[in-house]
Amino acid sequence: MANKKLYSLAALFKTPDEIINAAKKTTAAGYKKFDVNTPYPMHGMDRAMGMGQSKIGFVTLFFGLSGATFIFLFMWWCYAVSYNLVVGGKPFFAAPAFIPITFEITVLFGAISTVVGMIAVYFKLPDNAHPLHDTEYMKAVSADKYGLVIEAEDEKFDKAEVTEFLKKLGAYKIDSIYFPEPEKYRMFAPKFILFLIVVAALTSGLTYVTLNKLMYITPFDWMDYQSKLSAQEGSSIFANGEGMRPPVEGTIARGYMPYPYKGEANPTQVLSNPTIPTKPILDLGKRKFLTFCSPCHGNFGNGDSRLQGQFPSGPTLHSEKIINYPDGRIYHIITDGQNAMPSYARQITRDERWAIIDYIRVLQRAENAKESDLKLANKESVSNVQN
């Protein structure tokens, strides 16, 4: 005991009033390095101990604001810069949608930094040993007693004087607390290092085996391997070694109609519109137009793309040039493509293409309505009402 260094004198009290009074007296007596341990938080204790406002709030504020800034910029970078993604038809930089996450991350950063900061500051990390640990004093104050500790490092500390002082305050028991034997850190002992290496090797080995071997063991493979050729597989049956046979020359698919003008510039002479623009035909044309044409040419063919610049906008269909195109020319463009527009022959059938052309003609007529049309329309609507 004699060679141990004294940490503090610890006094135990029985009632909360005594401890508050003791804390006040200790402050008044001019002791700086003392602490109070109670089984529960006590109102008025901070003031009795003459403590100032804790500075931990600044840690919370700093990290909270950093978290908010970080996550907001992160989302901005993700959605508006790095990888544009339309979510719910909102702009890429959808600030209101970012707020809830910003709020959550602010709280998370603030809370975690407060706890970590408190542990780091008060426990003096990484050293978490404290002389008061494992003492009778600590057991008493964690149950139903109130304790006050005056440290030996205090400028005014004098063992006899402090003992007398604490007795006068009404302490029923006074302990001397000594610093524990300094622990020898055995972090770099060869045995420990070896243990770490074994653990690391085992963990990575097991992970590797699980992910690359165990997970690939097939429980039943009865139908996985069959004696038939899959597409693109080679075969020794045929002379050229290919498993797939080309069709006989001249074969065509059912319903296939050859298009002989592929690649030609202007084969209008030979194409004429076979449809009569009846209501069902126009409805079909409208539906197909809205599906395939409107993404680039706009809902009414004005060239105002629905894709908001994610693909080159198509030109307006109401230009003098296109109005004067014969039907066959437009049919050829839909079938064969032109400039940035690809061929739509695979998506739109021949009849549908003609129906679309009829519908485009309707749109063009509607865009260039004349005064006389208005009268006609009025007459119709009036007659509709009367009907």
Partner: protein, 396 residues
Amino acid sequence: MSKIESGYTKENLPLSVQKIGMILAGIGLVLGVAGFLVNSYRASYAYLVSYLFFLSIAVGSLFLVALEYAANADWSTPFRRISEFFAAALPLLLIFVIPLFFNTGKLFLWSHSSYIHSDSMLEAKSAYLNTPFFMVRVIVIILIWCAFYWLITKNSRKQDSVQDQLLTKRNITISVIFMPIFAVTITLIAVDWIMSLESKWFSTIFGVYLFAGVVWSSLAALTLTALILKGKGYLHSAIGKDHFYSLGTLMFAFTVFWGYIAFSQYMLVWYGNLPDETFWYMQRWDGGWKLISLLLIVTHFIVPFFGLLSYEAKTNFKRLKFMSIWILCVHFLDLYWLIIPSMSRTDHIYSFSWIDFVYPIFFVGILILVFNKMTEKTNLVPVGDPKLERGLNFHL
């Protein structure tokens, strides 16, 4: 107990308080009548804003009193009388609602029975939104509030002389009953007076939105009054920093609560992007309102948030006084922002009018007069309350 009783001696407020109240109410009344004569359309909207401001503080104070009883809080007991005095303005709501009843036609589209037949949605809503039922609703709600005010304060006042603990118990029961009733009635007030100005708009969180503002502003009124009275020495001398710190914390909490509710409402409307809902926010964005909307975010959330964040701010009486005045002004701005953009005759374009700022003068004057009148009859500190001693000894 005797120590506490000796700490407070009842004093009447100086005559200047009544004078200030009279002058403000008088100026407000004259200018207010002038406003109605100049532009009765604008004036009825402006009057509604100020009436709801008055209502906020009156009923919010009653809520604070009930909250103290329901939560069995003792730290706020020394202040409770201040809230009780403000709640004494509740019966006046019945008188001041009369100008609004005469102008329902200017305020509410749904009050025109000839109009609603041309609109199927309004017709469907007319079972609820019709003038007689509306008036009955408003009157009944105010009467319920008055009844609870009377029940609670009667016991509280009686306790000053008889010092009976049972009265506190009885008040706790009354307050607990009041809580759900308050929740329903304040929602109805929000729906009837503000949401129905745009009869087709709806937001299910709207009652909570108004509630946040109501409690926030009545807390500010309480803090401001307590600070002034404390400064002049009318309050109990034991009321100190820790009490005001707690008031500041509550104001801070309701700042965040309002921000949370206001944002929740906005975000759902923004995300849903339905024309039936978004138009309400568009009215508050187009035609010059954008600036006021942004101002509201800054003044209602950002400034009080950082202004009340630190411990120093909540214990610095000057700062706290400034923030309470700020909060009262901003709550007025909030109501202004809720109501004035719905004036359809101005095509929702912002135009400044002096009429908007006349009625708050009147109502602030009335609040001061009511408060002063109450201090003459009743102790500023509930001296008979068993919780008072603990409340005065409250330390963090």
